[in-house]
């Protein structure tokens, strides 16, 4: 009787074969190969278990996922200093240093790409929130010479120059900058003394060029001019839900201000008149910040009377306003990324990942001051980082924020 030995070492060569009859199918064939693959690394001719599929995040999307598109553009919500050549970089001060840079969130070094002399200075008068703004992987920041500078992580230079005067008043400062599509929008302050202000929102393209005023300017109190929109202060510009939004303190569409209310106004770029979206009646309020993120527009403000007097409110895309947080001291929004928001509430960092439905508190040691209004955050890899003025950089690893760069507090007039 014949004998022999079957040697099968080609399980990865033939694969599943179902066409042949059971006695005609060649050796090495399989009738089933569930969850297998041929290893691409030193595994030719063998067969192995396929790798696993790992859930990217525990947060589910809005429902069954039906389609996906790959967009080969910079992630706009990487905000990012991560967009500057895969590094994070924030300004220190205008005298002693230049800026701090890290590529891993742990090791920080001085960066000299933006010279100290180029860092923005506080304005002599008026509002001094001269913030840098990251958009499309480029940092835009106002310079003391009146120009808007740009920095892509390697090179810096003049981007454009805002109009030198508005209604006869000289340029003072760029209050804030936002971007949408191929356009930058900036809230610009003009002032000649401590009580005469004008604010206007301007647009210019990402490639520079002429600045174009958007809608009416705001004349602040005591610059009485009938027929001109007035406001006591304009404190914040954001782009959200295809509109530009500002928060102002007391406004009247045509002439002297008749109230001290806190008012949220919006325009669709190209429109000529601001539209009132919300008015908070108060005898005198302190404005905070307006910030758009994901499906939510946030405002923080303080009222002169009533309890609670310090509030964080949100607006849905459907136009519904609600208060999501109250406090004994002024609440300062720090950073919004999508529906994730960080605020500084009486020196405690609070985070919401569900559009303000609930907040998780994080106590930092040493505690940041109540006025430590870090204005920016950024993402590097999968970690969120917050920058708190006079405190440093805080890494939020999803569990507990960790201090990573507190030895280098930001000075007054810092870039961020």
């Amino acid at each position: 009787m014949a004998e022999g030995k079957l040697n099968i070492y080609n399980l990865g060569d033939v694969g599943v074969r179902l066409n042949d009859s059971p006695i005609h199918v060649p050796d090495g064939s399989l009738t089933e190969a569930q969850n297998t693959q041929i290893s691409q690394q030193s595994g030719e001719h063998a067969i192995r278990k396929r790798p696993g599929l790992t859930k990217l995040t525990d947060t589910a999307a809005a429902g069954r996922i039906l389609a996906m598109a790959n967009l080969p553009f910079a992630d706009p919500l990487e905000d990012a200093y991560g967009g500057l050549g895969s590094t994070m970089e924030y300004g220190i001060d205008s005298v002693s240093g230049t800026s701090r840079r890290s590529s891993d969130g742990t090791t920080w070094a001085y960066a000299s790409s933006i010279a100290a002399a180029d860092l923005p200075q506080p304005a002599a008068n008026g509002r001094t929130h001269q913030g840098g703004y990251i958009y499309g992987g480029v940092l835009y920041y106002p310079h003391t010479d009146g120009s808007l500078r740009q920095y892509d992580g390697v090179h810096s230079g003049v981007h454009s120059t805002p109009p030198s005067t508005l209604g006869g008043l000289p340029y003072s400062a760029i209050h804030s900058i936002v971007g949408s599509g191929s356009t930058l929008y900036a809230l610009v302050a003009y002032t000649s003394d401590s009580i005469r202000f004008k604010y206007a929102v301007y647009s210019c393209t990402l490639t520079g060029g002429t600045w174009t005023q958007q809608a009416e300017s705001f004349d602040t109190q005591n610059t009485v001019a009938s027929g001109v929109r007035e406001a006591q202060n304009v404190d914040g510009l954001t782009y959200w839900n295809s509109k530009l939004w500002v928060i102002v303190h007391g406004t009247d569409a045509a002439g002297p201000i008749t109230d001290d209310n806190i008012v949220v106004l919006s325009i669709t770029p190209g429109d000529t008149s601001w539209a009132t979206d919300r008015t908070v009646t108060t005898s005198f309020g302190i404005l905070g910040t307006i910030l758009g993120g994901g499906n939510v527009l946030w405002i923080a403000y303080s009222l002169s009377s009533g309890s609670p007097s310090n509030k964080l409110d949100k607006r849905t895309t459907g136009g519904v306003w609600s208060t999501v947080l109250t406090a004994s001291a002024q609440i300062l929004p720090l950073y919004a990324l999508g529906d994730r928001l960080y605020v500084n509430d009486s020196a405690v960092i609070k985070r919401s990942t569900n559009a303000g439905t609930s907040f998780t508190s994080f106590s930092l040691s040493p505690s940041p001051s109540a006025g430590s209004s870090g204005v920016r955050g950024f993402v590097l890899g999968s970690t969120y980082y917050l920058v708190l003025t006079s405190y440093g950089v805080v890494k939020d690893d999803g569990v507990t924020p960790t201090l990573v760069d507190a030895a280098f507090p930001l000075a007054a007039g810092a870039l961020l």
């Binding site: 089933e32 967009l71 895309t317």
Partner: protein
């Protein structure tokens, strides 16, 4: 890092490479359907979304803002014309008006033309235009006026009014100056601009968008060059046969310089450049793609699921690559629910260089299985499954190293990416099951005794591989299982016993357990004919 747009439930969301999700705000009145998958097409650094959205919309990848792709035009509202003063115009002139949304000098969208205003007759005069229509559409911030030359029928851009309020304009532009400009593109709103129709399919190809609508499903419309808002009503091709089913065009596949257009039982190719050299050619008479999601181009070769198998379209023509080995997967009801072939979807797995096609198991109403085709070795593996979730979508996503990795979406709304280190589907073990052929040693009529099986596997730090032999006739039952210690690498196991055939099943469902089988040896001797 790039990012991703996903259609999830009734929302469009942005997903970062680490899975962070952000819901996009949609233009007022626009809703997202759960019945139709979104179609995405990128042109001019903007993303057009159709099919799932109640209107075609545009997403800016720079800030995730959204807007309608199209806006209504002035329609029959046209300027009043009168000859006036002294000027350079002599003859007969006609005008049209459009509405625009612009960002700086960039046109975001332009409406269809108004009806024709005029003619107005002049003799060395100017033309006064009054009552120029304004738009009630939010965001319109410019208008354009177009004009003919004397007695002409082509329209040229006369001027752009950079507001939505000015209602008068005086024209004193000579025919010579006007005709230095190119003739105006044919403007128009595409299907999906209102609720009467939608683009079922949409793709970007040769600097234009190409779409097939629901109302005329045998047609393929195309936009003007790099103008995603300009769709002339006459810019379409008809893919035959016409009107023979309600499905029409089933899939687009961009392959090199061609746009492949599938129908259920034919495959066409569009070549050339509109308007002069564009043509559609039938390249295959036979089963075409049944699902846009199961039609994919990998390295210059198109693959699609047809009603009777998987097809390959390469430089050598169209062929059915499932014929030789796994034809029964696609032509019987034993393995898959063929009614759900139209819901199948495909992906390329760069790590294993495989085409993977997701299907519903026989009797299942979910897309809960997939098969893979090794593109280099040209062999099939599967059917595969996961016990962790039900896949609902497949695609590619960069990992933290910027390298493409296969990704699946689930019916529960989660994204899963293939791991480089884990053998679990999230927290659930991957269940390996390999079944060999029936080995008859070329003597299927002879009874044999199968001796001690030896197995050689990759040495692991732990774990066992379960081997279940079946020895006997072709209808024999499985025998008792054998356990192979994978820390040994090679192990000699028990005798398998007597029978005409022997086959082996290798299984492992241990958590995070790697398994790699190099081969096995099985001694035998013939017992004779029984």
């Amino acid at each position: 890092m790039p990012f991703y747009l996903i259609h999830a439930g009734t929302a469009l969301q942005k997903a970062s490479v680490n899975g962070t999700l952000t819901t996009l705000s949609l233009p007022s009145g626009v809703t997202v359907s759960t019945s139709y998958p979104a179609r995405f097409a990128t042109l001019n650094r903007e993303v057009v979304v159709a099919n799932a959205t109640s209107r075609n919309i545009v997403v800016s990848p720079i800030d995730l803002s959204t807007r309608l792709l199209s806006i209504d035009g002035p329609g029959a509202s046209v300027p009043s014309l009168s000859a006036t003063g002294t000027g350079v115009l002599t003859g007969e002139y006609r005008y049209k008006v459009t509405f625009l949304i612009m960002s700086g000098s960039t046109v975001l969208t332009e409406s269809p033309f108004s009806s024709v205003a005029g003619p107005v007759t002049t003799a060395s005069q100017q033309v006064s235009l009054t009552s120029i229509p304004t738009s009630g559409t939010s965001g319109v911030n410019a208008r354009r006026i177009y004009r003919t030359t004397n007695g002409g029928t082509d329209y040229f851009l006369l001027t752009t009014i950079s507001d939505n309020s000015t209602t008068s304009y005086t024209d004193n532009t000579s025919d010579y100056d006007l005709a230095l400009l190119p003739t105006a593109d044919d403007l128009g709103n595409p299907p999906g601009s209102d609720a009467t129709d939608r683009f079922r399919l949409l793709v970007s190809w040769k600097d234009r968008l190409w779409g097939s609508p629901a109302v005329n499903p045998d047609r393929v419309y195309y936009s003007e060059n790099r103008k995603l808002w300009a769709w002339s009503a006459t810019n379409f091709l008809t893919v035959k046969p016409v009107g023979e089913d309600q499905i029409g065009v089933t899939a687009f596949m961009v392959r090199r310089d061609d746009l492949l257009v599938g129908k259920k039982r034919a495959l066409w190719m569009i070549r050339g450049t509109p308007p002069d050299t564009i043509q559609d050619i039938q390249i295959y008479e036979g089963p075409g793609p049944v699902s846009q999601e199961a039609a994919i181009v990998i390295q210059n070769v198109a693959y699609y699921l047809g009603e009777d198998g998987v097809y390959e379209v390469s430089g050598t023509g169209v062929s059915r690559i499932s014929d030789e080995a796994v034809h029964p997967w696609f032509t019987t009801d034993t393995y898959f629910n063929r009614k759900l072939f139209s819901a199948a979807f495909a992906r390329w797995n760069p790590a294993s260089n495989t085409l993977e096609i997701h299907l519903a198991a026989a009797g299942s109403s979910s897309i809960d299985r997939w098969v893979s085709y090794d593109l280099r070795r040209k062999i099939w593996l599967g059917p595969h499954k996961t016990d962790a979730f039900t896949p609902s979508m497949a695609g590619l996503m960069e990992n933290g190293l910027g390298i493409l990795a296969t990704v699946l979406g689930s019916t529960a709304g989660n994204l899963y990416r293939e791991s480089a280190t884990s053998f679990n589907d999230d927290a659930t073990a991957v269940a390996l099951s390999i079944t060999t052929k029936n080995f008859g040693m070329n003597t299927p009529d002879i009874q044999k005794f199968y001796g001690e099986l030896s197995v050689i596997t990759r040495v692991q730090s732990g774990g066992t591989l379960t081997i279940t032999p079946t020895v006997g006739g072709l209808d024999a039952s499985a025998g008792s299982a054998i356990s192979h210690d994978m820390t040994l690498g090679r192990e000699r196991l028990r005798r398998l016993g007597a029978g005409r055939f022997a086959k082996l099943q290798f299984t492992n469902s241990a958590s995070n357990q790697d398994v790699e089988i190099y081969g096995f040896e099985l001694p035998y001797h013939e017992l004779g004919r029984r």
